[in-house]
Each structure stands twice: as structure tokens, then as C-alpha cells.
């Protein structure tokens, strides 16, 4: 062993650094292989024209990005993402908040309710999709069967086959599969609400809505920010539940940017253009999250 190496191991500070890096290294290597490298490779592919099979990738510069602006399918998919982000974020958070506040002060069967509400969250989105595909089955699904049983045949629809109903129908399935997560996180956040403030507000004559608006929601600010940002990103990247239920159809009625990207890259074999779409999807996700967190931080504590 040379003197310099011996000195290195003798230096406690350096030794600590080395130990730290040794622990981080495996995760870092995995991160580079599975995140950093694919990310930069996707950027490279987005600058090429390639069908995913030919050995040669033709470099086309920013041509794929130029085409994006004139692509009506992209704008249609983005509009569906936008709808998903609004409805798919507001609804589960609102339901989670409502149920959380309702059960917060303790009710009989609390564990039961918590389990039931959280149960859909443990299901994979694919399972949620399959369940709701059956729920919406036009012939045998429980929704149409119930409607027919009570004489509301006129309301029995081909839910996932109707271009106007399909997207709201899938969003409902997505909300069902997700609101339990919001509920549990909000319940945890509610444990930190200062009960003295609530009691004081009661003494001052504040009604339930006022207590919610002026005490509970500000007290949940950090929790709400976290789940809203998280849900928002999920809304931009949503794929599996749509792919399982409608694959973007009927027509283009439920295509979001992720399904459109997949379709373009792997079904139509336009891998270069699909990569450009993937980069746009990542950027949208990044920008929305950044804006939301900036607004939240500007609000201060």
C-alpha cells in the first residue's frame, strides 16, 4: 500500500466520504442506467427519423418538434390531459378532504371506513381498469343492468364506446382508484391540526364551513400541496387505465399524450417522432409541477 493510500484511509473525514459514496454508488449506477441514459438517448432519438427497426437513424434536427405544433392529434391528446388534470386532481382531493374531515373526530367503525376507502389504492391501475371495463359493459355490466332493472333503460349507454362519455367514465374509474390515497394522507395531516384553534373558533361562533376554510385547510396546506402536485404529475403521465379500458378510443376520444406517444412510437413505428412526444410530455409535467410549487411557496407559511 502506498503512503498516499494509507494516508487516505487514515484521514477520518475522507474515509467517511468514501463510505458515503460507497453506499450511494449502487443506487446512482442504477439511476444513471435506467433514468439518465434513457433520458438523453430519448432526446437523441427525438432528433432522428427512425422506424425502430432499421439500423440507420436519420438525423433530422428539430424537424420532429416543428411537426408537433401542426399535429392535431397532439393538441387533442393534450386537451384530454388537461381535462384529466382538472377533474382527476380536484375530485379525489375534494372527496378525500370531505371524508377525512367527516371521520376526523372519530366515528364508530373508523378502521372499517379507512380500510374500505383505501382498498382501491392497493389495486394496480390495470386491475382498476379491468374492473371498470366490466362495470361499464353495455350488455352485462352492473351499471347498465341496474339502470335497466329500475326502468331507466334510456340511460343505459355504451359508456366506453360513446365518444362523449368515455373520458368522463374513465376519469371516474381513476378517481375511484385514487381518492383513498388522498383520504389517508389527509387523515394523517389532520392529526396535526391544533384542536385549541378549533375550540376557540367554536366559542367565537364559527360554523363548519368557516372552520374548514380558516383553520383546517390552512393547517393542511403542506399535505394538500404534496398530494395535489403528485396527482397533477399523475394526470400528465396517465396511461395504464386508459390503455386497459379504451386504448385511446373510441376514435381519439380518450387519447392522452402518453397513449398517443406509445401508439406513435410502437404501433406506427415512428420512434423519432414518438420520442419528441415523450420529451414534450416530460416538459409539460416538469413545468406544471414547477409552476404549482412556485405558487405554493410564494404563498409562504
Amino acid at each position: 500500500m502506498t503512503d498516499s493510500i494509507r494516508q487516505f484511509f487514515a484521514d477520518r473525514k475522507l474515509r467517511d466520504y468514501a463510505t458515503g459514496y460507497a453506499f450511494v454508488l449502487p443506487a446512482l449506477v442504477m439511476y444513471v442506467i435506467f433514468v439518465v441514459y434513457p433520458f438523453f438517448y430519448t432526446i437523441y432519438l427525438s432528433l432522428t427519423k427512425w422506424d425502430g427497426a432499421k439500423p440507420v437513424k436519420e438525423f433530422v434536427g428539430f424537424l420532429n418538434y416543428e411537426k408537433l405544433f401542426a399535429d392535431p392529434r397532439l393538441w387533442s391528446a393534450l386537451s384530454h390531459n388537461f381535462i384529466w388534470i382538472i377533474l382527476g386532481t380536484v375530485t379525489p382531493v375534494a372527496i378525500g378532504l370531505f371524508l377525512g374531515v367527516l371521520l376526523w373526530r372519530g366515528v364508530r367503525g373508523m378502521v372499517f371506513f379507512r380500510t374500505v376507502y383505501f382498498l382501491p389504492v392497493v389495486l394496480a391501475p390495470v386491475a382498476v381498469g379491468i374492473i371498470w371495463k366490466w362495470m361499464y359493459n353495455p350488455q352485462f355490466g352492473p351499471i347498465n343492468s341496474t339502470l335497466r332493472a329500475v326502468g331507466l333503460d334510456v340511460l343505459a349507454k355504451g359508456w366506453l364506446g360513446d365518444p362523449y362519455l368515455a373520458l368522463p367514465a374513465i376519469i371516474l374509474a381513476g378517481v375511484w382508484g385514487y381518492f383513498g390515497f388522498c383520504f389517508v394522507v389527509i387523515m394523517a395531516g389532520l392529526q396535526n391540526i391544533d384542536m385549541e384553534q378549533i375550540d376557540a373558533a367554536l366559542v367565537d361562533g364559527a360554523n363548519g364551513l368557516e372552520r374548514l376554510w380558516y383553520i383546517i385547510i390552512p393547517g393542511l396546506r403542506h399535505v394538500l400541496t404534496m398530494i395535489t402536485a403528485f396527482t397533477l404529475i399523475l394526470g400528465v403521465n396517465v396511461f395504464d387505465i386508459i390503455w386497459i379500458t379504451t386504448r385511446g378510443g373510441p376514435g381519439r376520444a380518450t387519447h392522452v399524450i402518453a397513449t398517443y406517444t406509445y401508439n406513435t412510437a410502437f404501433r406506427e413505428s415512428y420512434v423519432g417522432y414518438g420520442s419528441a412526444l415523450a420529451i414534450v410530455m416530460g416538459l409539460v409535467s416538469l413545468v406544471l409541477s414547477f409552476i404549482f410549487i412556485s405558487i405554493r411557496e410564494r404563498g409562504g407559511d
Binding site: 422506424d51 376520444a253 415512428y270
Partner: protein, 434 residues
């Protein structure tokens, strides 16, 4: 016996033992051929397993390892697997530029030019086997599923209701309304929930072939004639007419292939427009007698049969066992296998010069075999095995929107024409006019 002779004898025995062991090892280790297919349905599965068993018995040095996928799965994984050296030796995959064409043009498939000559396949197989699996001037596939599109009807219901089988397209459309009034549900195309606009687009290919001359359609497929020309738009209008006449399930886009077919099996639906590949399901499930014929001609026009080559066999370019793969491929189109395909799987392989008279099949299926093999009328094109993937996706999406009243036939035509122009620009189209 001296010591030298003992040693010499021992050496010979040892050598013989080595050869014997080597021989045993070789005998126990046949060439492994990985075969990916997309054959589904109980009878079809049993048929291919029997064919493989028969082949292995006749060729003990070859072992076929079969793995089953769906068409979508093959599309998703084949390219990556082949490029990574993890692909199969033989793949049963769809024909056309959207499927095998991508692999062929990328050099991932084995050229079968020499094999066609060596095995005399040009004489044995229908001509489209070569024509529709030739990409960039080289033939890569051996056609198998020879299909036609047509009109199925439940004979009992037609008799019970005192209705005549339609002799024209217009009569068929009118029957949709008649059956609706009688309380039936004519889901003329099933499977929207599974495949989007694939079924209704198939109906359009039929109408297109019966309303626009074949050479015009060939020119459009080849990118030499616009898909938004008035004659092609008019053919889309005829499909809109089918929708307006109530020929499709009211919840059509939400109905799966199995649910839609179940209506036909149970007599809830008296007629369907489907490809003959569905024959295997129909003959298994439906107890009523049913008939099959080519789409009735449009008034004033000539009845045209849509023929297509569905899935075909390809050998992967980097296979380590091309000889064995070709031997198996040739067996798959042999006389011995042919009978099994027809009687067991209810498929019509694209093989010429076969006499079906002693085949053990249901009457409707025999009618179909005779109809297709003896057809001497005009033949039309089944588009999606000849058109590029971006064209197909847009077509399937747009026809559903057209059926829902969200797009006009002109808008659909404009969309698909734009996709064809894009494919031509990228060199992804098939030139079938030459």
C-alpha cells in the same frame, strides 16, 4: 495377450465409449427451433400442436418450441427481441408494410427467394403469398391464412321471418331496418371495443371493392391516387348509410368481439359482415344453420370478393438453424398439414389445387371452401394488410368517429389521405401497381 495389446484394446474401447456417449448426447439434443405464433381458439391450438407433434415424429433431430402471443404483443416485442438476438427462429406474423414490412425492410428477416425456388412454393401457394410478403423487392414470407370477407346469415331466422337472403347491397341495408322492427339486433360488425374501428373499416374495404375499380384502389394503396377522391368518399358514404340504417349495434363501439358474436350465436342477431377467419368460432358456437356469401353487389355493380392473406410465416434473419426452420416451414404448407388446418382449425391455407370433396367439415364451411377456391369473379383488396401502420391507425380512429357522427366521410378521407402522403414521403407504403 501382452501388455501393449491390452492397452491398445482399452484405448479402442474408450474411444468407442466416447463416440457412443457423443452419439447419445447428440441424439438427445435435437436442434431447437423457437416458433412464435398467434394461433388462438381451442381447435386451432390443438391443430397446430398436432402438426408440430407429427413434424417432430418425422424429424426427430428437430424440436419445435412454440410460444403463443397476440398480434399486438408480437408487434410490441418482435423488433426488440430480434435485434437483441432473443427472437424466435420462425414467426407467424401479419403481412403488409405495417407488420412484416417493417422487419423485412430493416433486414431482420431471412430472404426466401431461394426457398421459393427450392421448394416450388410459387406453384404450390396462391400468388398473393409471394406478392403480399415481398418488401423492397425481396420475398420474406410464406402466406398461410387465406381469407375472404363476406356476409353471414342465420338461415333459421330468415326462414322463420319469411325473409329472402339479400341479392344486392341495398336489400341488405334495408334488411337492417326490417330486423330492427322485428326486435332483432343486427351488429354487422363485432369487436369495436377490442379493436376500435377495425371491424367497421373492414366493412368499408368490402364496400370500396364493390364500388371502386380494383386498379383504382391499387393505385390509392400505392400512393398514386388520392384517398380523398370523390369515388372513395362516396364509398365511405355507403358505410354511413349502413350506420343510419341501424345495421350496427346501438352500443357498437362498446361491444366486444365476443359479446357481438354472442348475439349471432344466440339468434339475437340474424346477420353479420365478417372475415372468414371468424368461421372457426362460428362453426364451434352456433347451433342454427348459417350461410356465408360474398357481400351482395351494389346495384349496377359487379360482386367483388375481398381476399387477404392474414398471418404469414417468416424466418428470422439471424436464425442459427435456417435449414431446419425451412424444413418446418415447408411441412406447415404440406398436404398432410393442409388437411389438419382445414378440418381442425377451420382455416383455409393459401395452397392451390386441393380437392375438398372428402374433407370432414360442416356444410357451410365446405360451401366457403368451394366458393373461395372456385371464385372466378373480380377480386378486391383488403387494405390494412397493404397499407402502412399510420394510415391504419388513423383509419380505425376516424371510421369510429364517422359512425358516431363526429366526422363526415370527406373528413375521414382527408385524414387518411394525409397519412398516406406521409407514408409515401417516408417510403413506408407498398407499391402494388407494378
Amino acid at each position: 495377450m501382452n501388455r501393449l495389446n491390452v492397452l491398445r484394446g482399452a484405448r479402442i474401447i474408450a474411444l468407442l465409449l466416447v463416440f457412443a456417449l457423443l452419439g447419445t448426447a447428440l441424439a438427445q439434443d435435437p436442434v431447437q427451433i423457437l416458433y412464435w405464433d398467434q394461433v388462438h381458439g381451442d381447435e386451432a391450438q390443438a391443430t397446430i400442436e398436432t402438426i408440430i407433434a407429427n413434424f417432430e415424429e418425422a424429424h426427430p433431430n428437430i424440436k419445435i418450441n412454440r410460444e403463443v402471443y397476440t398480434l399486438e404483443q408480437l408487434t410490441d416485442i418482435s423488433r426488440t427481441a430480434i435485434e437483441a438476438g432473443e427472437g424466435p427462429d420462425i414467426m407467424y406474423y401479419d403481412s403488409g408494410p405495417a407488420y412484416g414490412g417493417i422487419l423485412g425492410n430493416a433486414g431482420l428477416l431471412l430472404s426466401l427467394e431461394e426457398a421459393y425456388a427450392a421448394y416450388n412454393w410459387d406453384e404450390r401457394l396462391v400468388s398473393v403469398s409471394r406478392d403480399w410478403t415481398t418488401y423492397g423487392g425481396t420475398v420474406y414470407g410464406v402466406g398461410h391464412e387465406f381469407e375472404a370477407q363476406g356476409f353471414y346469415w342465420n338461415k333459421r331466422i330468415f326462414t322463420d321471418e319469411g325473409l329472402e337472403v339479400p341479392s344486392t347491397f341495398e336489400e341488405m341495408v334495408a334488411l337492417c331496418g326490417t330486423f330492427r322492427e322485428l326486435g332483432y339486433d343486427p351488429p354487422m360488425a363485432a369487436g369495436w371495443a377490442d379493436w376500435g374501428g377495425f371491424p367497421i373499416s373492414h366493412n368499408w374495404y368490402n364496400v370500396l371493392a364493390n364500388s371502386v375499380p380494383s386498379d383504382t384502389v391499387a393505385a390509392a394503396i400505392s400512393g398514386e391516387y388520392p384517398f380523398n377522391s370523390p369515388d372513395i368518399v362516396a364509398s365511405l358514404d355507403l358505410v354511413v348509410g349502413l350506420v343510419e340504417a341501424g345495421c350496427y349495434d346501438e352500443q357498437g363501439s362498446a361491444t366486444s368481439f365476443l359479446d357481438g358474436n354472442a348475439k349471432f350465436y344466440t339468434g339475437q342477431a340474424p346477420m353479420m359482415l365478417m372475415s372468414t377467419w371468424a368461421m372457426q368460432f362460428f362453426t364451434d358456437e352456433i347451433t342454427d344453420e348459417f350461410g356465408f356469401m360474398i357481400l351482395p353487389p351494389i346495384e349496377g355493380g359487379e360482386q367483388t370478393m375481398i381476399q387477404l392473406m392474414g398471418a404469414v410465416w417468416y424466418i428470422i434473419g439471424d436464425t442459427e438453424h435456417p435449414e431446419e426452420a425451412l424444413t418446418f416451414l415447408n411441412y406447415l404448407v404440406s398436404d398432410e398439414a393442409f388437411r389438419l388446418w382445414v378440418e381442425g382449425a377451420k382455416l383455409l391455407p393459401g395452397v392451390t389445387g386441393v380437392d375438398f370433396s372428402d374433407y370432414d367439415v360442416r356444410p357451410v364451411y365446405r360451401d366457403f371452401l368451394n366458393l373461395v377456391s372456385g371464385w372466378d369473379g373480380p377480386v378486391g383488396y383488403h387494405l390494412d394488410v397493404l397499407t402502412p401502420a399510420n394510415f391504419n391507425t388513423t383509419l380505425f380512429e376516424s371510421t369510429v368517429e364517422m359512425a358516431a357522427g363526429r366526422l363526415t366521410s370527406q373528413e375521414v378521407a382527408d385524414r387518411i389521405n394525409a397519412e398516406m402522403e406521409r407514408a409515401v414521403e417516408d417510403g413506408r407504403h407498398a407499391d402494388i401497381t407494378g
